[in-house]
Symmetry: none
Subunit: 415 residues, 2 copies
């Protein structure tokens, strides 16, 4: 028998009990017959994506859940975002996440998103920035590309670069743009900081006089006169999932960070029409794409961002509604895969608290349903019910070996 896995990760779905929901979590409040059916037929547990008490990023958590030790492999968000946006990042390159922003004459940030500038304007500005020439003596090239609205990617290529540099993005408005500083004493970090600062000044100069911005000013739109950069990163040096487990993996995700992680893990990234990474994403289209992907792949990661979006907005009601949509999505999957040969695992990449609006270090619930699992008596998928499940408390890094063992893809250690 050849087995398949669909791993569904709902971003930030786990939560804490909140007063607004009668001391229940959003997951505990949702009507979710399919999630409960999966719990009833599967083995449940709680999982620390990284380790107990450590609030994970979606990048480190997803790396861990795909079987990569995040402490050893994580090398910054920038390169993962860039890969996810379709920009190839090579070993040695340093990539940044960028924003088009509005600053005043004193470089005080007025709007970190330049009024959520339209794709068309951003694209024209990006072309001009990408054409800037750096001194040949620096021996570096760069690529600047806008992605969605105010978001953009900067990749610097050349010898002696380092991702150990700080952000120019002050992260909040009404603060000044920061100088990029080396974060260690290496020649590489110092050189990279100098190059980025030089680029930021060159970008600023071009943006100040750009026709697109003159037109924006005339139309009373915030001018995109500064590029803010953050999250310097290099591409992780990791074996692909094919190499590690001899599987054919695919990923259905909308957000570029998860696409990027999936790409560096060697997964086929499947783009789905209507999958937006927002709360209005086309849940059912993603479910269909995941089921469809099983025809040519035996491991499909299906990632939904919306739960995290609702959490960061502190919107409990919306989070419950999204969980109910995810439940319907799972209903489609249950009805359309062979339960004799498919493992269905559902979890979250971290807890995002509706109250704190932040990623938190609490464990997440996890369930695995499929042939031969040690079904337990948990029949309700929630943060607290799953704590009584047969998996007990595992770590993110344990998930992939557990799934691979069920698939018959785990390698024996010893004889």
């Amino acid at each position: 028998m050849s087995y398949r896995v669909i791993l569904v990760i709902a971003d930030g779905m786990a939560d804490r009990p909140i007063k607004e929901l009668g001391l229940k979590t959003p997951l505990e409040s949702a009507v979710k017959p399919n999630l409960d059916r999966i719990a009833e037929n599967g083995v449940c547990g709680i999982m620390d994506p990284i380790a107990p008490g450590i609030p994970p990023g979606s990048d480190t958590a997803t790396l861990a859940m795909l079987g990569y030790d995040p402490w050893k492999t994580y090398s910054g968000r920038g390169a993962l975002e860039a890969e996810g946006s379709g920009v190839k990042v090579l070993p040695g390159d340093v990539a940044f996440r960028c924003n088009f922003a509005t600053v005043n004459d004193d470089l005080l940030v007025l709007d970190r998103r330049a009024g959520r500038i339209a794709n068309e304007d951003a694209a024209k500005l990006a072309v001009s920035l990408d054409r800037i020439k750096l001194k040949q003596s620096l021996k570096v090239r760069f690529l600047f590309k806008n992605t969605i609205q105010h978001r953009a990617i900067l990749v610097i290529s050349g010898p002696k670069l380092s991702s150990a540099v700080s952000d120019s993005d002050p992260e909040t408005a009404r603060k000044k743009v920061q100088d990029v500083k080396p974060l260690d004493s290496s020649v590489e970090a110092k050189r990279t900081a100098q190059i980025v600062n030089m680029l930021m000044r060159a970008f600023h100069k071009v943006l100040l006089e750009h026709p697109v911005n003159r037109l924006r000013a005339k139309r009373n739109l915030p001018v995109a006169n500064m590029i803010l950069c953050r999250g310097a990163g290099t591409i992780p040096k990791i074996p692909t999932l094919q190499e590690k487990f001899e599987i054919r993996p695919a990923c259905v995700a909308a957000v570029s960070l998860i696409k990027g992680v999936s790409k560096v893990a060697g997964m086929d990234v499947i783009n789905v029409k209507g999958a937006t990474g927002t709360v209005q994403t086309n849940y059912m289209a993603k479910a269909k794409a995941a089921v469809q992907a099983l025809k040519k792949h035996d491991f499909v990661l299906l990632h939904v961002k919306a739960t995290d979006v609702a959490s960061h907005d502190g919107n409990a009601k919306l989070k419950v509604e999204i969980i109910e949509k995810i439940d319907k999505m799972l209903g489609y999957i249950l009805a359309n895969v062979s339960q004799d040969s498919t493992y269905l695992a559902v979890t979250a990449d971290h807890t995002t608290s509706i109250v704190t609006r932040n990623h938190e270090g609490d464990p997440v619930p996890v369930v695995i349903m499929g042939p031969g699992v040690r079904r337990d008596d948990v029949a309700d998928f929630g943060e607290r019910t799953c704590a009584k499940g047969g998996l007990n408390r595992i770590r993110g890094l344990d998930l992939m070996p557990t799934l691979m063992s069920l698939m018959g893809k785990a390698k024996k250690f010893g004889a």
Copy 2:
């Protein structure tokens, strides 16, 4: 919202089921309405202070529960005891725990505590020992200070010292005083062993002819004619809790070992009148001091030694009584802290078995009560009930990140 934590550690409180108590543990036998209330409103679990099956010392367990990996940071008990006794130990110094003891002419130990010599006698003897001059060529200084009854501290300072030396204390009476031996092949260990042996002989010589001992002999009291040393240690090189977590930590403890651990962790050590580290300690004064400490601190460790004392004495009835006193102490705390902004965690640093009278490697129960915790259905605080709790099984090293995450002090890993 700014949150606070009180972490109550009852030394050696955890135990095994014993026949004397109808196959219950002392904790299971005690009447403890407040502990049960905390369990009912909190999230429970079991915790391996170090790792499953490893009997912890109070020093290693407390280091772990404060977030320091004991395998990497522990460097012997001596320096922690010295710090806790108010003796400053600097990096490079080697410190020992010492006993005034009674030996016969063949250096056979007759009484490891010299009849639990009174503080006054010990102080006079210590002053004489501290005045001894070592050869200048050795380039070392030492400090010898009595603490309580037969207990004392020896700190050696100078170049090329090592804590890798054995004890002179044979640990039981009717054995001979041991030569201190180097425990590795380093020059430093060899030199340190020589210096300590030289000191032990010099101490013995001064003690034999000391007027205090002549008077003790006349009054038929055991003479304190030998110093036994053990637990060579250096000060751990660890960042403070302020540096690690940006908290303002305080410790309410009576025993010098815990005070010492707290000092090296950068905590303010609060001395409480009537807190003695014995079974007659003033429990309520400690509770009041802990609550009071929350005014200027946001993390308070409250340590009670008495449960361990009763265990080492094999006194089950007394252990139950002490647990009931600790319960009343917790009642005071519950009534006097804001439950909207305070996390209350209760645990033990290890299992001490009434039967074996030793520290054992069994896990300990742990509970955390406070805003947003995933309250479970455990309503009875015990070794076996907590094993069914929502925390499942964690390690000592997981406790601090878990508490810090609840306080909003945990740093996100990734983006």
